[in-house]
Amino acid sequence: MGQLLQITDLETHFYSSGKTTKALDGVSFEIEEGETFGLVGESGCGKSVTALSILRLIPDPPGKIVGGKILFKGRDLLEATEREIRSMRGKEISMIFQEPMTSLNPVFRIGQQVADVIRLHQGTGERASMQKAVEMLAKVHIPDAEDVARRFPHQLSGGMRQRVMIAMELSCRPSLLIADEPTTALDVTIQAQILELVREMRDELQTSILLITHDLGVVAELCDQVAVMYAGSIVERATVDKIFAGPKHPYTQGLWGAIPPVDEEKSVLSVIPGSVPDLSELPQGCKFHPRCSFRFDPCTRTRPPLIEGSPGHFVSCWLYTNHSTSGITREYGSYPAAGTSDANRTQLKG
């Protein structure tokens, strides 16, 4: 099982009326083949921006990928030409979005929309593409697939539309499926069905999945590895078992603590005090320190690197690392101390 996706120091900024919002501030993680990788965090932490950056769908203006490397099957996506990236979208890397109600084109029939994607990437004729489309719709358990193929999106429910999206995006057997909050906008009962469908498809097609969500239950259900994001960076990364058993980062602990336990009674839900920082005016040092009850001196001065706190469990927090800020190496090379400009930045070509 090799590495499918390797993201190193990804930086994506947004520019508007003089402000620079650092949506992604040095994000790094890897996804193995056949792995389901969860990306968790609050709204605005950069999960969706990460997904869009991988496919280079960041609207420019106002956004721009300013640094980092995205290695997919060994090739740096950020160095690829527009044409090369386009040929991969929908074919090798597919994406499902959060809002099934508006993600389908209202003026084209369902079958047509799926068939068009098949035709684009597989070059099959009209009739053959439509046939495959209908097969795909049946595969995702849409009843009367042929009939549904002739309908328009507004005639289907949210759950059905999401199934259509899944069919569309898996129709060309992508190696990586990015699912950005696929169940958030759906009813709870439908959520379970969709997750089950995703699991089934993954098992059958051996697809790797980058699952973006803020729902820890979903993570527990489907994921092998999890990364927790906060204000544009990854603060903790580990296998699902390890991270649920013992979260290391204070933020993660706070998130976990906010889940009401099933077996006890709790009168007050624990909240993390404070609020997410403004991404255009980040605090110096660790981004989480203003809200952290464990902060001490180094936290306010320098940003902690992502360090392997225990085997297979990475965390970005001074509680687990050597307090010295000089010469710390980690697996991705030397991490620039906050405030210095001697960073290795990979420029975007093309």
Binding site: M88, R89, S103, N105, P106, L120
Partner: protein
């Protein structure tokens, strides 16, 4: 969808009734005795008696209205006081001319407006966008009779490329069509741009890009069809306007159109003509809007398959 069309037609009927009522009542709302008004300068008693009989002027109003309507249905709009010709004949001739001009104008308007609007939306903030927005601002702010005069000044009087008025050949229609077309194209361009911008923001466009379609396909196939839906309504309105509201252009270029017929009728106190023109123009406009609504329901599947 048949329900949608049927509903639209049902809503039409009271409007048509109201329009016919207003046209009919015109004669009675204008100060003066209807008989004298219709007789004009004819003092011949026999003629006046005939008039009374034909228009039922000595009968109660609702009977008169009924007579009016029954005549109209048989395409009898009475006789022009001035020219003594059947009003129906005058209306037909003028309508044909106006329709020709309107067709030519709407084609020009559609061509310029749609292209400018789409390019503006897809190349936002570019020089083209700024120019076309300024251009369309001028287009909607310019009084059309002034534009017509300017066109006449430059292309007719100074350069002599086109005739300054009258009818006959295609050449006579060019300048007025440009005036009407340019004016409408500004409206269409603005609407198209706004609609396109709105559509490009939608999630399904993001889906199309994420699936790997080329940008030009995303715009011309995925976006355009959606963006055109509201533009259809504008189209219908502009075309309808050209059929009846082009009075000003017709006046500048001395064209034998419906609008000018109406205005001349007012000046000449030729009430049968005024009534007929009112009725025809309003009815045509209403019908054009109905057709536009039906077209709309065809193009938007959300209405077609409720």
């Amino acid at each position: 969808m048949t329900r949608y069309i049927a509903r639209r037609i049902v809503m039409l009927l009271p409007v048509l009734f109201g329009v016919s009522l207003i046209s009919f009542a015109l004669l009675h709302m204008v100060p003066g005795d209807p008989v004298t008004l219709l007789a004009g300068d004819q003092a011949d008693q026999a003629f006046i008696q005939n008039l009374k009989k034909e228009y039922g002027l000595d009968k109660p109003l609702h009977v008169q209205y009924y007579q009016f309507i029954s005549h109209v249905i048989r395409c009898d709009f009475g006789t022009s006081i001035r020219s003594h010709q059947p009003v129906a004949k005058l209306l037909r001739e003028r309508f044909v001319f106006t329709a020709q001009l309107a067709f030519l104008s709407i084609i020009i308007a559609a061509f310029i407006g749609l292209i400018a609007g789409v390019i503006s939306a897809t190349r936002r903030y570019s020089i083209f966008d700024n120019l076309s927005m300024v251009g369309s601002l001028f287009g909607i702010s310019m009084p059309i009779f002034w534009l017509a005069l300017l066109l006449m000044l430059v292309f007719s009087v100074s350069l002599g490329w086109f005739p300054a008025g009258g009818k006959g050949t295609l050449k006579h229609l060019v300048l007025p069509a440009i005036a009407l077309g340019a004016s409408s194209s500004a409206v269409i361009a603005r609407m198209t741009r706004a609609s396109m911008l709105e559509v490009i923001r939608q999630d399904y466009i993001r889906t199309a890009r994420a699936n790997g379609f080329r940008e030009i396909i995303v715009i011309s196939k995925h976006a355009l069809k959606n963006a055109m839906i509201p533009v259809i309504t504008v189209f219908g309105l502009e075309f309808g306007y050209m059929l009846g509201g082009a009075v000003l252009t017709e006046t500048v270029f001395s064209l034998p159109g419906l609008g000018r017929l109406m205005v001349d009728g007012i000046f000449q106190r030729d009430y049968p003509v005024v009534q007929g023109a009112m009725l025809l123009v309003a009815t045509t406009f209403v019908v054009v809007n109905l057709i536009t609504d039906i077209a709309y329901s065809f193009v938007d599947p959300r209405i077609r398959y409720e």
